[in-house]
Point group: C2
Chain length 221, copies 2
Amino acid sequence: MADRAVKTALFDAFARAAKALASGRRLELLDVLANGERTVEVLAGEVGLSVANTSQHLQVLRQAGLVTSRRQGTSIHYRLAGPEVLELWQLLRTLAAGRLAEVERLAADYLGARDQLEPVTREELARRLQDRDDVFVLDVRPAAEHAAGHLPGAVSIPVDELRRRLAELPRDREIVAYCRGPYCAFAHEAVELLRQEGFSARRLEDGLPEWQAAGLAVTRT
Amino acid sequence: MADRAVKTALFDAFARAAKALASGRRLELLDVLANGERTVEVLAGEVGLSVANTSQHLQVLRQAGLVTSRRQGTSIHYRLAGPEVLELWQLLRTLAAGRLAEVERLAADYLGARDQLEPVTREELARRLQDRDDVFVLDVRPAAEHAAGHLPGAVSIPVDELRRRLAELPRDREIVAYCRGPYCAFAHEAVELLRQEGFSARRLEDGLPEWQAAGLAVTRT
DNA sequence: CAAGTTGTCAAGTGATCAATTGAATAGGCC
DNA sequence: GGCCTATTCAATTGATCACTTGACAACTTG
């Protein structure tokens, strides 16, 4: 019954791909990479790991076929291997969010009870942009990510510069802030701050990767 | 920076869901469960594990929210928690099949080089059934699974009874055999046997779960 | 070509996981 | 109410994983 052994090996191979996703740190890396390619060093900074450790995680992801890399100058840039990878990550977190009460609780802790007000859906924002509705779209991600691609017409003010650049924002229009995805805290923080300061602000329900994956327009500077 | 700790915990929670998929044995269990609910004992038999071990795997899956269970009489029936679980499993194996050469090689070993001839796509078969084309649809899964749900008009002959029931098959029509999914060996085996015996036979590219997930009609006896 | 970055490898440690075994529940059925 | 059976729990063992540290490799750029 060598068949059993081969079947075992086949399903173990599928499991190896899943194993690459079975680490919170690697999922954080994927979540960042969904916003565009990054060097090892930058990634290490984003998720708070040592460079060596980050490199090892990236190699696990590469062996699973989830990311690819290219060298540019002195550094190596990693990126998602394809759109299906983002799709898999989205599906995984949707499923986890829907079925694990734990996730809901942790998400509330992390993102704050800031979420009282309904976020703006992708569809709603796309429609309002289409209709030339005068919504002010605010990209609160780091400037480099904005440069690599952003929503049409979005203005870049990284969240940590927001407090001292409030003057650049309109008080007579609704502001919609977005960042890297539904589990990125930047937009939540930004909306909280803006509300305190008397602005009319809501956040986009998810981030740039989902916008792009939905086939909506993305502008590159 | 307690934020970091909470973020870590949040992504670890997502990772726990992925971890449930990170075992070949658990994926085999999901693959069987995609065809309908099963008792622990039956599942143990299907994947060749001890009952105790199977039970433990099932509990990992349940804690991840991927399966649910219900008691009926003396035994406990497990089933997939929802259609997204099948979707996740499908996406995972598609991605692995596309990106890992290893999978391709193992699949060829397991399913045989039997795969030379083009399988019938779901769409093609659905269209031919619609058009009342005289295709003979053969369900080679165990009889119990056929009873729980099958393609419209499909005839049930479990693969291990096929050789002695060849008389029940037509020689003037194309036979399309299907089983549990693309990585189930039954249909491959069946087609190989039927060809040897001079029948015109092909296999459906995937199985009942995918057919059902695509929203196509399923008959219950 | 030499110096300096950036990224990777290798070895070690503590933690977690899969499977086995044997015992314990928990419900159904007489 | 008490046996029976299907399932689960608990304890153990060997394997695998995450992270650290320090050394090495690959490549750019002066």
